[in-house]
């Protein structure tokens, strides 16, 4: 049976992954001029939480039960952390009107693109845009006001994305040894008037397997929010 030998390639891919994602972790960042936000009302947009099982470096499948558990643990951890930080959480309800709902989805998609840019620069110093001069200066744009119109009262929105990946099969031991069984999470606080990202943090390492581990991760992720 012909076997495609990928181990040397896999080794390089792992190293590249570690290089790309194990590089300098950034402290939570605030946009220039942001110190303490006066309005404590924060719209909590649905956190994108996923737990994947990866069979090779190419293929993965979502694991429903760990994902649903992780979402519950994350929600509980967010509420605990933010209430402790004096934030008033405003729950999100997707609009019933399909067009308005699609508009929300398109904005969230745009935020995801921006998030990837920010993370890419945090992960790899060589990818940093010198024009940014190390500042957090990104915006989703004034279209984010659509969330204000559809949800009552919040001035800012919190967007979270957490992706946990577990390797299975023979790669597991190899990659676990290199620290590549991983969890990556990011959190953005977005001004719903301007769409400006006023605060951003990313974390990696740990897991979402239990309530305690999730709580520990979220504590780090939501550290130093400007309230």
């Amino acid at each position: 049976m012909k076997r495609l030998r990928v181990r040397p390639v896999l080794g390089l891919a792992v190293l590249a992954t570690v290089l790309a994602t194990g590089a300098a972790l950034a402290d939570p960042q605030r946009a220039p001029g942001v110190s303490r936000l006066g309005d404590p009302r924060v719209l909590l947009l649905p956190a994108q939480v996923e737990v994947w099982e990866i069979a090779t470096t190419w293929f993965g499948v979502l694991k429903p039960e760990p994902t649903l558990n992780a979402r519950r643990y994350t929600q509980a951890a967010i509420e605990r952390e933010l209430r402790h930080g004096r934030v008033v959480l405003v729950p999100y309800t997707a609009p019933a009107d399909p067009e308005r709902n699609d508009r929300h989805l398109a904005l969230l998609n745009l935020h995801a693109m921006i998030r990837r840019e920010i993370l890419g620069q945090q992960a790899n110093p060589l990818s940093r845009l010198p024009s940014k001069r190390g500042r957090l200066e990104w915006s989703v744009g004034p279209g984010m006001a659509a969330f204000r119109e559809d949800s009552s009262g919040a001035r800012h929105a919190l967007l979270l994305e957490l992706t946990a990946r577990r390797m299975v099969g023979g790669q597991h031991a190899t990659l676990a040894a290199l620290g590549s069984d991983r969890l990556i999470g990011s959190a953005s606080l977005v001004d719903l008037n301007t769409g400006d990202i006023v605060w951003f943090n990313s974390e990696r390492g740990g897991s979402l397997d239990t309530e305690g581990e999730t709580s520990s991760f979220m504590k780090r992720l939501l550290h130093d929010m400007p309230f």
Binding site: T56, F59, V61, L62, P64, E65, L105
Partner: protein
């Protein structure tokens, strides 16, 4: 769509009927309205597909044409009444000959495929093939097979590819069976692959981990012809659905042809155009696009052919005014200033607010200026 096994019909395939057998044992067919539960890989695939579908809905690549969507969905229901409620159709603007089905019933039909189908029966065969993948749970089977055959030492690539070919043969057989059951002429299935073979005689798509390996076009064609030969076709009232299909396509075929010419794969486009011209519908638009194909390829002999195609197009009532614009460009390139001027002037009479009217007016002024 990382990690999501998509079954794409990239080249024709047909082979002996295979049972629904996964690598770890028999896999039951998907029942109508069934969805997986628990922590299974299948449930995970469904969760991923739902996320993909959410993104698809807001994707600018999707063609929002309710009448066309309803028509295609109607064909799906004709083929598989019990499953059609669970199947959602998305028409994707992309000139590739492609259709794909996700495990949740997310059916994508690319516009390049719509251009190439000559009638309802041919499109229905392709849709039936995709329904076959869906009902037989091939996404799940391929994932399980892939997992079983990949270790830290690597992949058993050939074995994985062969399993993929088994799935494709099974889907072809199911597509054929559904076609016949729905009352369509079984000979139309083979005609899909005849046309594909004419367009790409030596090309079989390379296997990829996502799309999978396909048996050769010739193998698929041979098997379909054999099946049709044994089917009862004489004296039977067999549906082809040519007029119905062309009526649906009439509204959109102009830009389907624009996209096809825009691929710049002129040898393949030439085959497509020849077949469409032989069928004889919308000859003004077809000859115009034949002209565009030659003009964009741009060899000296092509420009002569382009002029004759544009002139031929203008003999028909459905010739687009853009034929004058293109004539103007070609005449100008050949240095025939008078003919170019006349052609551009005719174009601007018919399309005074064309998006490029200002640039054409400038060119007209240049052509009218004394040398």
């Amino acid at each position: 769509m990382r990690g999501f096994l998509v079954f794409a019909l990239v080249a024709p395939l047909l082979g002996a009927c295979a049972t629904g057998r996964g690598p770890t044992g028999p896999v039951a067919d998907l029942r109508p309205a069934e969805s997986p539960s628990g922590n299974t890989d299948e449930a995970g695939m469904w969760m991923q597909t739902e996320r993909t579908e959410t993104r698809m809905r807001i994707s600018t690549a999707v063609v929002h044409d309710p009448a066309l969507n309803d028509y295609i969905h109607g064909l799906v229901c004709r083929l598989s009444a019990e499953h059609c409620a669970a199947i959602r159709v998305y028409v994707v603007r992309d000139p590739a000959f492609m259709a794909s089905m996700g495990p949740t019933g997310l059916l994508k039909v690319h516009t390049g495929l719509l251009l190439r189908m000559a009638n309802e029966a041919q499109l229905s065969f392709v849709l039936g093939h995709e329904i076959g993948h869906y009902v037989r749970r091939h996404s799940l089977q391929r994932w399980e097979d892939f997992k079983a055959k990949s270790t830290y030492l690597g992949l058993e690539a050939e074995s994985i590819a062969e399993f993929s070919r088994v799935n494709e043969r099974e889907a072809d057989q199911i597509g054929y069976t559904l076609l016949v059951k729905a009352g369509y002429d079984p000979r139309e299935a083979a005609r899909v692959w005849e046309a594909m073979l004419a367009e790409s005689p030596s090309k079989n798509p390379p296997p990829t981990l996502f799309i999978g390996a396909h048996p050769s076009t010739a193998e698929r064609l041979a098997n379909l012809r054999e099946s049709a030969a044994t089917a009862a076709t004489t004296g039977a009232d067999l549906r082809i659905g040519r007029d119905e299909y062309l009526a649906q396509l009439k509204r959109i075929r102009h830009w389907l042809l624009d996209d096809e010419v825009g691929r710049r794969q002129f040898k393949q486009t030439q085959v497509v155009m020849r077949r469409l011209i032989e069928e004889g519908d919308g000859l003004g638009d077809l000859h115009f696009h034949a002209g565009e194909m030659h003009r964009r390829r741009g060899a000296p002999e092509d420009l002569t052919t382009a002029i004759s195609e544009y002139r031929r197009a203008l003999d028909f009532p459905d010739a687009p005014p853009e034929a004058y614009r293109s004539l103007g460009i070609v005449y100008a390139r050949r240095g025939d200033r008078t003919a170019a001027r006349d052609a551009f002037a005719r174009y601007l009479e018919k399309r005074p607010t064309a998006e490029d009217h200002e640039l054409i007016e400038r060119q007209l002024a240049d052509l009218e200026a004394p040398r």
